[in-house]
Amino acid sequence: MNCTQVADELLAARRGESERQSEVYAHLNDCPKCRELADRMGRSLALLDSVGDFEPSERPWDGIRRALASEGAIPPKRLTRGRFDLHKRLPSTFKYVAAVVAAAAAVALLVHSRTPWKERQVVASAGTSGNIHVSLASEGSWELLPPGGLLRSGDRVATTRRGAGQMRLSSGVSVDLNSGTVLELFDPSYLYMHTGEVYVVARPGTGFTVQTESAKVRVTGTRFTVLAERGSTRVTVVEGSVEIRNAKGHVTVSAGQAASVDKGKAPRAPVATDPAKAIGWTLEPEPKISLALSGSRVRQGSKLTAEVTVVNPKAEPMSIYAPGGVQPFYMFRITGPRRGSSWVQQASPVRSASTARDPQAATISIDPGSRHSFKCSLPKLTAAPGEYTVSAIYYAYRAEDAPEWLWTGTIESSPVKVEVTEAR
């Protein structure tokens, strides 16, 4: 198959409706140009997913019932009227409670409904601290999303003028939203920011793009902030480097530098800055986690003891919130010489009481500046002799029915090597 034929057949192949499915994919394997086309097509289709969600009101069914009643098919029934005016008569506290309940119900419905019709892709979950509001691109109203609530392609996400929020994308990228931020989510590696400020943490090797009105900021594994207001964008890089690009030009900004760009103009040259100032507003500092093993050489089939230490580097108590139905864990990732990684799970030893808002929730609290250590044993390393690496992951959880990517930790220690020698 040549590139032109593949271009004609690609969409059908993506949908599983091409008779030349395997030929298309074989060509994609060998042809970077067509792979780029496939990638672009995927992006375009994800963008298109963002519009037109529709949930009919009661009105059409009321009309059908009225028509059926007039034909004598059903007994006439009093139709509910003025239902939507009810909230005007309620005091505002009730409205707030009702809004929270409605938001929770909407999210529960979103997670649990099993419609055979195509659903928008889940691309992120709300973070464990701060408040973010979510609205469909096609809707006008906003809802407060509970921690851990799922965000889908096409959702518009915002924080209030005083609040800040946090979300975690399925690509593993975490995004803190400063107050007054409005952005739209399209896929796990791309967001469009209308206004406000975000702090992005992308692990090495993770590609991510923030698009604003005036520029596109591309990264591969780094930490940086983007501030967008009135057509101007400012990018500050904490770690790694990012590329800012628009139609007029591009610059690369390295750690400890900042650069701005105005709409319709080329990005300005980067200048030195103190990145600590740019991230002063961010929500949760990353806890530091370290791992020590009882030995660097063990005999095949024997156990290892691991000591995990978690440090709160900030001046305030740090709490990590796990929403109801979700369990906090420590995890260990063990990578061997032959197989892929295996995982060992350890229930969190630090767990405080639930909150009033969510009685099922659990919170892990660590005092400012304190370190918390615990020991646990890792299972017998019975696999082949050779070099293994072990790392500890601070916080991982799994909600029932949650997509698989939520089943990963947020903070991982540096890997520790251990050599497994042959059993005697």
């Binding site: 529709f54 069914w61 006008g140 793009t209």
Partner: protein, 192 residues
């Protein structure tokens, strides 16, 4: 699209016999996808709901005529599509070219109640809609049914009464046109 649920046929049989609760169950199953199809064709919630109501009243009145040659869902979509084409024809006869894009844009730009900050007027959602709007009616119908409703090409062919090959080529042309229209947002290829 959903597999042909045998209970759909049972329900439709009961509808044909005048059982309103069976119609209610069919409505519960298909009002959302059929409504969404009508909404994406019109970008007008009120009009989409009116058409949805009329389509299900037609299901009620013509359930006895269902010959079982297609899935029940496909048949309901056919009814909705035919009704939409009638409505559209009437509207364009009376009002010249139907101006729906304006309504869609106005709706997308509605200010959110909370949080209060104004959304930039260059709403991305509105641009996406405008791009879909610019497709020919026949292409747009194919694209909406395939992309948003998740229908197979063969089923779309049944709903629209055109060969599968036509569906496939219309779909490819629509996708290409939309991709070009959204090029600005797609220049964000990931660096890996």
């Amino acid at each position: 699209m959903a597999s042909d649920d045998p209970s759909d046929r049972m329900l439709l049989g009961r509808v044909g016999g005048g059982d309103a609760t069976a119609l209610e169950e069919l409505y519960r199953r298909y009002s959302k996808p059929v409504g969404a199809f009508l909404y994406r064709m019109s970008w007008d919630r009120e009009l989409a709901e009116d058409c949805l109501q009329e389509a299900f009243l037609r299901v009620w009145r013509s359930a006895r005529n269902f010959r079982g040659e297609s899935k029940v869902a496909t048949w309901i979509f056919q009814i909705a599509k035919n009704h939409w084409l009638n409505v559209r024809e009437k509207q364009s006869r009376h009002a010249g070219k139907l101006e729906v894009a304006g309504a869609a844009r106005a709706e997308a730009l509605e200010a959110p109640t909370e949080p209060p900050q104004a959304i930039e007027s260059k709403e991305l959602g509105a641009k996406v809609r405008a791009a879909i709007d610019d497709l020919d009616e026949s292409h747009r119908m194919v694209f909406v049914l395939a992309h948003y409703e998740g229908m197979r090409y063969r089923e779309i062919g049944e709903v629209l009464g055109v060969p599968v090959g036509t569906v496939k080529s219309r779909m490819a042309a629509s996708e290409r046109k939309l991709r070009n229209a959204l090029a600005h947002y797609l220049d964000a290829e990931v660096v890996r």
